[in-house]
Amino acid sequence: MRNLSLAAGAAIVSLLLLAAAAGPYLTAADPLAIDLGQVLAAPSRAHPLGCDALGRDLLARTLWGARVSIGIAAAVVGVSLAAGTLIGGVAALAGGRIDELLMRAVDVLLAFPGILLAIALAAILGPGLLDLVIALAAMGWTGYARLVRGEILSLRERDYVQAARGLGASPVRLLLVHLLPGVAAPLAVQASFGAGGIIIAEAALSFLGLGIPPPQPTWGGMLDEGRAFLLVAPHLTTVPGLAIGLSVLGFNFLGDGLAQRFGRRT
């Protein structure tokens, strides 16, 4: 079978990135402009997706929400990836006591449900973009650390790495030139699934009132605001709900497709 998942995932994720990047140019409406004449308005020519309870344009809010969701997902995956790779790499290469210590710390963190950690941190650190990224990265990095450590431990025994070591390559060179490229494929798979997970977690935090505070549009926040108008204006929940669902679907497809491409089981 051709790699349908990869194609679908890449297409959806590209679309998302485009929407996030070009969002403000796709609609002239201001996502924060309140228009009490348009309260709960159904979709129309002026407002293609209708308006929310304060008469704010839903299309503009959804597009701006994409910036928040995609931006945060990218930042969190980036931070988790960097921290996980560094710590997993150090543990694998140092071995012994250091490895033991680092992996015990990872074990304890993994024994602690990630979303709970994120909720607790978000509640303590307070609302804010950076705080949110820290809270979500705290739950994300451990998976990458374990993956990198495991992969490096197995790659280390391969002939080409042994050969490089025999030729006198330094540990840093070994890591950067010979080991990390081998870890890149499984990391890409995990990062793709991870991005989907972060989008859901970020939406959940915003929904629970622990994410980016209003009036800034976020998909989770929009869902929460829309819940009061389920019967009269179901589009208020449908639009952000579909946006979250589509993003997660895209990243799941991408992860599946990459896993197939690299010949790995997920």
């Binding site: 024994a111 709970l116 303590i124 939406a203 959940a204 629970l208 389920l230 709900g241 997660v248 679907l249």
Partner: protein, 306 residues
């Protein structure tokens, strides 16, 4: 077998201590002052000092840690600021509701996942496989946040078949359980399919076919049990996702469980209560993982190592 259980049980203690310590550290070591968060930036220094003293935050950190652990052993998690009741009592009153919801969600997940995964795994590459897996990935991608309101619109508001919110009889349980179970069903169905496809060519399957069993019978009688191990282990790993789902689902359906209690406690800056809820959630998660390990050894005799 007994020794295996005892050893796993003994292994629980350090993990539980780690989780309890992490919960303590979260509140006490992370920058940001819970007292200022509770009273506001402009609170009078006298009030702040009084509150600190009331909560015991003015004592040295090691002393606080020791009395926290001591209280924990006695089942004392302090007193809620907003409810003026012991945290343990508040949590104990809400715990059954959360457990009920989680069990219902898990049941829904298994009831959907097994037929779906079996249909797909019995004939990989068929139209039924494609359909079942499309359904599964759709289920995984629909967030709880949206599925809950969607089910409410359709089954409560439009059709009027099921109650909108709250906890009561079985009817109250259906929509929250569907909300929680759907994503997990998709994940489990995919794993079951992959796992079934993996055992199709195993020797014992060829033996089963050779003795005259049809493909369906062979797969149901011999393939399924062998394919089950990764599915069960995934169920344990998914306990965390079930937890996220339960917090969000409790809020959506006004379900009187610990998830909602925790979010209310956070909103009310009731930090002893919030800390208690976090701790109970985390410990539950640890115990669920232990139970998964044990279930694992019961299903797959090969795992039964002393």
């Amino acid at each position: 077998m007994m020794r295996f259980f005892l050893r796993r049980l003994a292994g629980l203690a350090p993990v539980a201590l780690g989780v309890a310590t992490l919960t303590f550290a979260l509140i006490h070591l992370v920058p940001g002052d819970p007292v200022i968060a509770m009273l506001g930036e402009n609170a009078a220094p006298v009030d702040i000092a009084a509150m600190r003293h009331q909560l015991g935050l003015d004592r040295p950190l090691p002393a606080q840690y020791v009395s926290y652990l001591g209280g924990l052993l006695r089942g004392d998690l302090g007193s809620s600021i907003s409810f003026h009741e012991p945290v343990t009592a508040l949590i104990a009153a809400r715990f059954p509701a959360t457990l009920e919801l989680a069990a219902a969600g898990l049941t829904v997940a298994v009831l959907i996942a097994f037929p779906l995964g079996f249909i797909a795994g019995a004939r990989p590459g068929s139209a039924a496989d494609f359909g079942a897996m499309a359904f599964a990935i759709l289920g995984i991608s629909v967030p709880h946040l949206y599925l809950g309101p969607l089910l409410m619109i359709v089954f409560s508001l439009r059709l009027g078949w099921l109650p909108l919110t709250g906890r009561g009889g079985l009817a109250h349980l259906v929509l929250p359980a569907l909300t929680m179970g759907t994503a997990m069903a998709g994940i489990l169905a995919r794993m079951l399919r992959q796992s079934l496809a993996g055992v199709r060519d195993a020797d014992f399957m060829r033996a089963a076919r050779a003795k005259g069993l049809g493909e369906f019978h062979a797969l149901a009688a011999h393939g399924l049990r062998n394919a089950l191990t990764p599915v069960v282990s995934l169920m344990g790993l998914q306990a965390g996702a079930l937890l996220t789902g339960s917090i969000v689902t409790e809020i959506i359906f006004s379900w009187p469980g610990i998830g909602r209690l925790m979010i209310e406690a956070i909103a009310a800056r009731d930090y002893p209560l919030a800390q208690g809820c976090v701790l109970v959630f985390a410990l539950t998660y640890v115990v669920v993982n232990l139970l998964t390990d044990i279930a694992y050894s019961l299903i797959d005799p090969r795992v039964r190592l002393g």
